[in-house]
Amino acid sequence: MSLSLRILCVVGAVITFLVVTHNIRRRKLRLDDSLFWVVLSVALLVMAIFPGIVSALASALGFQAPSNFVFLAVIAVLTAKLFSLSAEVSTLRSRLDQLAQEEALLNKDEA
């Protein structure tokens, strides 16, 4: 893992952490939803501080360069997160529909 990639990992981790804490303070992010991002920034830090772990994993899995492994790992994690967000949006949409329907039926009963 090159020095510049390690520095970028640290920068990414710090920015992620600052954005998350700022949004918790501004009441824009729930604690439950912030856990993922905190874990992600810790993982980035670990990769930057202990590049040996990344190199060992990369060569064990047959990657030509550790950086390729880092990219693929980050893409995989973000894709999984994207999918879970997509599923959550579906759930929220159906819950919103239920609420709107309940509200409409209540108003009908009262009228």
Partner: protein, 226 residues
Amino acid sequence: MKVLAIIPAYNEEACIAQTVSSLVEACPDVDYLVVNDGSTDGTGSICDELALNHVDLPINCGLAAGFQTGMKYALRHGYDAAVQFDADGQHLPAYIPAMAQALADENADVVIASRVLAGEHIGGARGMGSKLIAGLIRLTTGARISDPTSGMRMYGTRMIELFAHDFDLTPEPDTVAMLARRGAKVVEVPAHMQERQGGQSYLDLPNVVRYMTRTCCSILMFQWFR
């Protein structure tokens, strides 16, 4: 002193009627509100049939939102204190007056019904989790709370207003820690509890792990940013 017992209920058809009737019998001066949190069993129809004082959330919103519903009700109806009261019969209503007394006498914001102060020994993994959380709270806030995982907590007017309006406040130990660190006065009174009287506990292993992770992270890290 007007006290409201907030009873969040999600699929508690097995014990909700018994819980409310023993509460009313033991504490006729205490009002109660059952928050039926989108139950899919007979909880809602039992509340209707017995004409219990209740609200029905049309969808399941979880304990935090259900409890917040009760706090909004308490605020709008001018209650001086609100107590978290489990629907499953674990909490004994006989301790509510003592908690209200402690709230008034000590000008406290939060009163916790502590099994530890009553000499109960919380054994096994549950006891270890409880001790860990108590240690973390002591470390980060300096507050000594003997039974942080006790679900029977009474809140005064300042806390009712806070819970009613604030974003993402759960009625859990990490919130108690945060309130204590921000200067809320937290006191405990001794109280016994009993086993749940029916229905199912949601505390299976994945939920316990999730609960402990969330609580510990919240106490150690997040309370500094809130």
